[in-house]
Amino acid sequence: MSGGLVGHAEVVMGTVVSFVVAPGALGPAPLEAALHEACAELHRIDAVFSTWKPESPISRLRRGEVTLGGLALEGLGDEVAAVLAACEGARAVSGGCFDPWALPGGIDPSGYVKGWAAGRARDRLVDAGVDGVLVNAGGDIATAGGPAPGAHWRVGVRHPWRADALACVVEADGAVATSGSYERGAHLFDPRAGRPSLALASATVVGPDPGLADAYATALAVSGLERTDWLPTTAGYGAYLIGNDGSEVVLGEVAVIDPAATDAGAAPS
């Protein structure tokens, strides 16, 4: 394949968002413009939805300083309302395991926004006409097309306990997101129990929508292995779960690659 991939890394949203693009027929200048536009979109979303920024609209909403109606007057209401509606949908589907309203400190849609933002950035490049694009927002991944005609983007799922290993490699078709308790400690909050949760070591969701994949991964990590039947597998979502005891479960359809059968496993140990 002579078509080279183009990479870009952007520091935004408290993380590094990396782009990998198969430009296809798109020339360097329009590609650069599309990347710039996609990054500008990420910065814009961060300015609206960052709960770390006290002046952001979402922070003002959390503090009760403004209502959705008030944000509408500022021209921000529609987008914030749309995100909250999507969060509401994920809350209903997950039986409350994903619940931005139950978190300490007020409404926090971050568990949806990062994946959603990755999808928005991806869409800018798709609109520009690239053959393929992968946007990785700190582990929340949105994809379109593939690295080469007929090929799929491949995403390594980090091993929950071994920082030098992958648990598996999956093919991405739209979105991949992982939630887990490893490294960062008990950062997941169980809205039902009102306390941090450690139900799963790692929950990876693949599916069509990056925001929902992000939210569902968060929800699965909280709901644990006993309660997974809510995952909308018929809507194209699948999951790869690692329990705290190391057990692995696959829900729905997940295209897991056997690295030993491909050159993906060629890395020396």
Binding site: E10, P28, A29, V157, L166, C168, E183
Partner: protein, 212 residues
């Protein structure tokens, strides 16, 4: 379902792996593009396993680790908080084509600044990066343009759990940066804040050292 011991991982390696995997004749830019800064993107070095002769690549070596492909290019992605907020401090906006074919371009010329890498062994500590659960700063030592050592210069973590986790994770991150093996995957999921802070701090240290 297989659990495969691929050596590679976490954001730093994912970051480097993604960059290094694509460097054969392709462009890698690392930049901070503010929402309205108009500063454009600052080009960054793109090292790669297959581009050992890349004049601007930051070859990463250490002891028994084999030299490889960490794309620790530097740029206006200076990791200060203000830069993240959009006030970029980039050097100059390099056109994408010059980045794409940077293998024949001197880094100083490409960056538009008279910042030829100095020779000799130099060390600098990167910006202290907040990763949500604490603050991390990395001291980077270079010899010419090669990273020869990475040390945690500052780690402040409030909770004991995070402290424990960081102690576990950081040595691994060091070896990832120093090895940065190229694996044929396009991204890593399950990344973490700690490793991102680590990457930023290294980046800012390299910026200070003007290693391109």
């Amino acid at each position: 379902m297989k659990r495969t011991p691929i050596v590679l991982v976490a954001t730093v390696a994912g970051f480097a792996g993604v960059l290094s995997f694509h460097t054969k004749g392709t462009s890698v830019t690392l930049s901070t593009v503010g929402p309205s800064s108009g500063s454009g993107s600052a080009s960054a070095a793109a090292g790669g396993a297959g581009t050992a002769s890349h004049p601007s690549s930051t070859s990463v070596t250490s002891g028994s680790h084999h030299a490889s492909s960490s794309s620790t290019g530097s740029s206006g992605a200076s990791s200060s908080t203000s830069a993240k907020a959009g006030g970029t401090t980039t050097t100059t906006a390099a056109p994408p084509s010059s980045t794409a074919h940077a293998t024949t371009t001197a880094p100083a010329a490409r960056s538009g600044a008279s910042r030829a890498p100095a020779a000799g062994v130099r060390s600098v500590t990167g910006a202290a990066e907040n990763f949500g659960y604490g603050v991390l700063a990395v001291k980077v030592t270079v010899n010419g343009t090669k990273i020869t050592s990475l040390k945690v210069a500052n780690l402040q973590v409030a909770e004991p759990t995070s402290q424990y986790i960081c102690q576990q994770a950081i040595p691994m991150l060091h070896s990832e940066v120093l090895q940065a093996q190229s694996t044929r995957i396009n991204a890593i999921t399950g990344a973490t804040y700690t490793s991102e802070a680590y990457a930023y701090s290294i980046q800012s240290a390299l910026d200070k050292l003007h290693v391109k």
